[in-house]
Symmetry: C2
Subunit: 303 residues, 2 copies
DNA sequence: TTGAAAGCGCTAACAA
DNA sequence: TTGTTAGCGCTTTCAA
C-alpha cells in the first residue's frame, strides 16, 4: 500500500487517520487514490494492538423476553453508539455460559461495555482489558459507575396508580405464564401489591390462563403483565371493565380500541445511556447518579 | 508474566495454548500458578494479529420482529457457537447504517459470519479480512456458500394446507399491522394465496384490526400472521371456527385451549447452521446445498 | 513535508 | 526441554 502510493507507511497512516496538518494536499490525494484502487482497509487488529484500544462496545443483554421493549432498548442505544463511531455488538448473556461475558470481553477488548450488574465481570479485570467505559443495567456495582435501571417494580405501581386515579378499587392482575417470564412478573407484582395496599385497592392475582376464574371476583379493571396477555383477554372482559397492558407494543397501538399500556423506557433514555458511555470513554467527567428509567402510562382507550 | 514464572515468553505461550508436548510437568505447573496469581489473560489482539484470525463470529440479524422466532434462532445458533469455542456476537443490521455490517467486519475481523444475503459485504472483502466461514440467511450469494432459508412463504402454504386437510374451504387471513411487519406478512400471504388457489380454498385477507369485517364473510377457519394476533382474535370467534397462529410462541403453548401454530425453524436447524460454519472455518468440505428451514404445524386444540 | 525505526504482545521456527 | 528471535500491521516519535 505504502509502496503503491510511493510514500512511507507512516504517511499512509497519517492520511487515513485524518492528521491533515502533516501531509501536503498532493500526497494526500495520491494516497487516497491508491487506497481506493487497492481496496485497502487498515488492519484493525494491528491498530488496536498498537493503540491499546478497539472501537467495539459490547452490549450484554440480560435474559429478558425478546419483544418490543428490548427492540426499543437496542435500537436506541445501539443506533446511537453506531452514530458515535463505535462498533456496537450484542452479547446474549443467557445463550452462553456463566462467564461467557468475561470471555467475550477478553477476546474483543471492548472499549465500552453495557451489561446487567448481575453479569458484570470484575471491574478491575475490565479496566485491565482496556475497557474505558462501563455502564450497568440495574444497580451500580460500586460508587462512580453510571447505571440505568429499568424499574420493573414501578411498572406495577404505575399501573395500579393509574387505575386507582380512575376510581377502580378492585383490580385483577394477569400474571405471566412460562418460567422465563416469572421473575419479571414477580418484580412487577411487588410494586403493584405495595401500591394497592397504599391506595386501598383490592388486588387479585391470577395467571394469564385463569382469566375466567379471576373475573368471578368481579374486578372493575384488569392489569396485564404484557400487551400480548392484555390483548388476549380483552374480548372476554365484561363491558365497562378497564384494561391496562404493559410494553407499549406496536400491537397495542394498533388495537381497536387502542390499548392503554405502559412504556418501560424512552428512546431518549436509551440514547442517553450511549452518550454516557461515550463520555466515559472519552475520559470526561460523568454524573454517576443512578438513572431510573421510570415507566409511564401510554393512555389508550381501554382505561 | 514470563519473568514471574522464571521462564521465557515462549514457554508461557506454549503452556497456555496447551502444547503440552513441549513443556515439562513442573514448568507447566509453575506457569499456570503464576498466571493464576497474576490474573494474567493473554492479549487477544496481539494473538489475533499474529495468528491472522480471531475467535469472533458475527451473527448479523436482519430486520425481523424481535420475538420468539428470533429468540429461538439466536439461542440455538449462538449457544452452539459458544459451545464450539467461538465468541459469538450479534450485529443488528437495521440499527446501523447500510454498510454497518461491513464496518463491523473490518473492525473485528470475525473468523465466521452469519448474515442475511441482502446485507452481506462483498465476499472477497470478507475473505481478505480473515473471515474463513460464511453462511447466509436467505438465498446463497454465489455457488458454494452454504445458506439457510427460513421459508416465510411456506408459512402461508403450510397453514392453508393444514386447514384444507381438515375440510375448511373458506379461510380468513389476519394480516399484520405496522409497517415493520408488512414485508414479512406479504411474503407469507403469497404462499397462502397459492395454496388456496391450488386447493380450492376461498381466502379473505383483512388486517388484524378488521376482524369483525372479516367474520362477516363467514369463514370456517382463521389464519393469523402471528400468535399475538391469533390470541387477540380468539375470543371473538364464533364457536366452531378453527384458528391457527404463527411463531410457536410460549404464549401459544400456554393458552387454553392450546393454540395450533406454526414453528419456523427448529433448534436443531439452528445448531446445524453453527456446525456448518464451524466446518467451514476448519477448512473442511461442506455440503453447500441450500438448506430450507421448512415451517411445520404444531398441533394445538384450535384446529 | 516526509522517512526511518521502535515497539504494542503474541506465536512459531530455529538454536541450544 | 527450554530460550532466542523474527515478525504480524500499525502508530508515533525522532531525525532529516
Amino acid at each position: 500500500m505504502a509502496a503503491a502510493a510511493g510514500v512511507s507507511r507512516a504517511t499512509v497512516s497519517y492520511v487515513l487517520n485524518g492528521v491533515d496538518a502533516r501531509v501536503s494536499e498532493g500526497t494526500r490525494e495520491r494516497v487516497l487514490e491508491a487506497a481506493r484502487t487497492l481496496g485497502y482497509t487498515p488492519n484493525a487488529m494491528a491498530s488496536a494492538l498498537r493503540a491499546g484500544r478497539t472501537s467495539v462496545v459490547i452490549f450484554a443483554l440480560p435474559n429478558w423476553p425478546l419483544g418490543p421493549v428490548v427492540a426499543e432498548l437496542l435500537s436506541g442505544s445501539v443506533g446511537e453508539l453506531d452514530r458515535l463511531g463505535y462498533t456496537p455488538l450484542v452479547h446474549f448473556v443467557h445463550a452462553s455460559g456463566p462467564d461467557g461475558l468475561q470471555r467475550a470481553c477478553d477476546r474483543v477488548r471492548p472499549v465500552g461495555l453495557i451489561a446487567p450488574t448481575s453479569a458484570l465481570p470484575p471491574l478491575e479485570l475490565l479496566r485491565a482489558n482496556g475497557t474505558r467505559g462501563i455502564v450497568t443495567l440495574g444497580p451500580p456495582p460500586e460508587e462512580g459507575v453510571p447505571s440505568f435501571t429499568l424499574e420493573q417494580d414501578r411498572v406495577g405501581t404505575v399501573a395500579i396508580e393509574h387505575l386507582a386515579e380512575r376510581g377502580h378499587t378492585h383490580v385483577l392482575a394477569l400474571t405471566p405464564l412460562g418460567s422465563q417470564l416469572q421473575p419479571l412478573g414477580e418484580l412487577r407484582l411487588v410494586g403493584a401489591r405495595a401500591a394497592a395496599a397504599r391506595l386501598g385497592v383490592t388486588l387479585t392475582e391470577v395467571p394469564a390462563n385463569g382469566l375466567a376464574r379471576g373475573l368471578a371476583r368481579k374486578p372493575t379493571a384488569v392489569y396485564a403483565f404484557n400487551d400480548e396477555i392484555a390483548l388476549g383477554a380483552r374480548d372476554s372482559l365484561p363491558p365497562g371493565v378497564a384494561l391496562i397492558g404493559t410494553d407499549d407494543s406496536p400491537a397495542s397501538r394498533l388495537a381497536h380500541p387502542r390499548l392503554t399500556t405502559i412504556q418501560l423506557g424512552t428512546s431518549e433514555g436509551h440514547r442517553e445511556m450511549a452518550r454516557t458511555l461515550h463520555a466515559l470513554i472519552e475520559g470526561r467527567d460523568v454524573d454517576a447518579t443512578p438513572v431510573l428509567l421510570t415507566p409511564r402510562v401510554i393512555q389508550g382507550e381501554t382505561t
